[in-house]
Symmetry: C2
Subunit: 337 residues, 2 copies
């Protein structure tokens, strides 16, 4: 049964594991530095569908089916699926997962969704509300561009602080079946709003939330930064990552040698012309569920704070002159040596 | 600690209660049959704000603050808040709740959100992941019309099967503090898609999901329909309610004498010209958190299946010719006699 540890953190009482995971990627992502790590990559970003939205749904379908195959399970073996995405009314998740007939709870955490769904999966599994849970999320460059920014055909210029929405998905299966990735703690984030209004600088809007959640975890669990191998943020990109390090430094915590960001890992930001790096729910999902999980399995990573960050705005709120509130949820993963 | 009961239902092991609740309503709702039951009603549907979206956010702020006041608590007493709404990227929840500084997880279940958030609150509380959780959701006629249908100024005609989005919100505080409303079970719904494509007939799209979830609960828990006082659906409206009764009849279960629907309770469908009844997350939320909870407290209701239903489509998916998948989550509430 989960146990509250400090004000914001929940410890797992049982050994809860990420039994299997899968990261799926689009063409640009597969050409990046992590190309070889993805379970499946597509050269055709339409994934054989007739719309970008259906293509994104397919990414979720494929991510979940890949996880099920890897674990030799069928949908009926899964007690609950937590899923979400960036599209209005979370249609990628609905349409991508409806055929599975698994009890479903739609989540909205913007780009923090992978951590949010993992947290729920861990708590449900630890408390026996589920024997096996799946956490899944996706994003697609083309469906996101036309919904949040401009039609693709417009070919708009991007600011240097702008990020590039990843075409990808990640799914993780959570259970009590032993694997090398144990979820030890989750820290649930609060909405943090420092009145940043530039929708082309999401990293800056999300960095304060990441700093707050990481500080909460360290203080709730009395963890020293020297015990951690990797603090992996969701997709702060270059600008947001620099800000996070500065914010942590101000709190007297130097994370510069152990911090990395999924948005900077997934692309070669210079050669691939993605400005500040990758973003989107599918960014941290595909990086975490493939590259990071494979490194944990290989014994290269042992103690990780996966901190996915979300910008909780909409085009409507931005057009109405509102700020961009951020949030970050943290998953503490241990690989028992 | 929660316990799995059958394939789709989770039993609470501890006594988990809705410690307090509050239903907030707009002008048309306050003029309806349940007007006297709402905790707070507004004659000005802008709630003193300068946009419909901010007005909807205010409904959530007020709902949560009312619950906290009724329970003599402050935000710091709450371990987690589960919230969602119908607006793109769930901005009503984000902007309405960001000042509270409570750990936050955004939910998307369309009009099933009140049941989804109650289910999560109950499971978190039963498993000690939270001592106190809040479940909250809202909708607003004007923000929903312009996002999902047409600008208000257009004054479009509505079909007889169309429903009227409720301006309202509901919040519930879940804890182990004894009250007259005990959450005994939750049944998590699956996405059900019978290929209905008429966005002016959401009731028909959601009725099959409601039938499936209710049947799952009855079979998982071996409950007889004669033990239940009230099956309260979210907002199937007239058309969907009739369909649900027929679908249940086909399964050999006659619910006609104990079924009612929040969408039909909240308005006088004839006098108030709302065609098939009310809808929107705020419909079942405001009705359940005020009228129903007050009837439970008064000893008039003892054994209730609150089954909120959601239509998981978006304007984009409808424009692309997709069907409307439905979902329904069920909360079994007992008032121990």
């Amino acid at each position: 049964m989960p146990k509250r540890t400090g004000r914001y953190t929940i410890s797992m009482e049982n050994d809860i594991f990420i039994e299997e995971s899968a990261g799926i990627a689009g063409s640009k992502e597969s050409e990046g530095p992590l190309g070889e790590y993805f379970d499946i990559s597509f050269k055709d970003d339409k994934i054989g569908q007739n719309s970008w939205e259906k293509a994104e749904s397919s990414l979720q379908t494929i991510a979940v089916n890949t996880v099920l195959e890897k674990a030799c399970l069928i949908p009926d073996d899964i007690d609950i699926i937590f899923a979400g995405d960036l599209l209005n009314q979370c249609i990628s998740s609905t349409f991508g997962l409806k055929e599975l007939n698994i009890p479903f709870m739609g989540q909205y955490g913007a780009c923090s969704t992978m951590a949010q769904t993992l947290a729920l999966g861990a708590i449900f599994t630890d408390s026996n509300a589920a024997n096996r849970a799946i956490a899944v999320t996706s994003s697609h460059f083309c469906s996101a561009e036309r919904q949040f920014r401009l039609p693709l055909e417009y070919g708009g210029q991007r600011t240097p602080s702008a990020q590039w929405t990843v075409t990808g998905a990640g799914a993780a299966l959570i259970s009590k079946i032993r694997s090398s990735a144990r979820i030890a703690h989750v820290t649930i984030g609060r909405i943090k709003d420092l009145d940043i209004k530039d929708a082309n600088n999401m990293g800056a809007a999300m960095a304060p939330a990441a700093a707050e959640t990481i500080m909460s975890f360290l203080s709730d669990t009395n963890t020293k930064i020297s015990d951690i191998d990797l603090i992996l943020t969701g997709d702060l990109g270059k600008v947001g990552s620099q800000l996070l390090r500065e914010l942590m430094q101000r709190e007297g915590v130097d994370i510069s040698s152990i911090h990395n960001d999924c948005g900077m890992l997934i692309f070669d930001t210079v050669k691939q012309d993605v400005h500040s790096g990758g973003s989107g729910c599918g960014c941290s999902a595909s990086v975490f569920c493939s590259y990071i999980m494979k490194n944990i399995k290989a014994g290269k990573l042992h103690n990780i704070l996966f901190t996915a960050t979300g910008a909780l705005m909409s085009p409507t709120s931005s057009q109405q002159g509102e700020s961009i509130p951020g949030i970050a949820h943290l998953i503490h993963i241990c690989s028992d040596r």
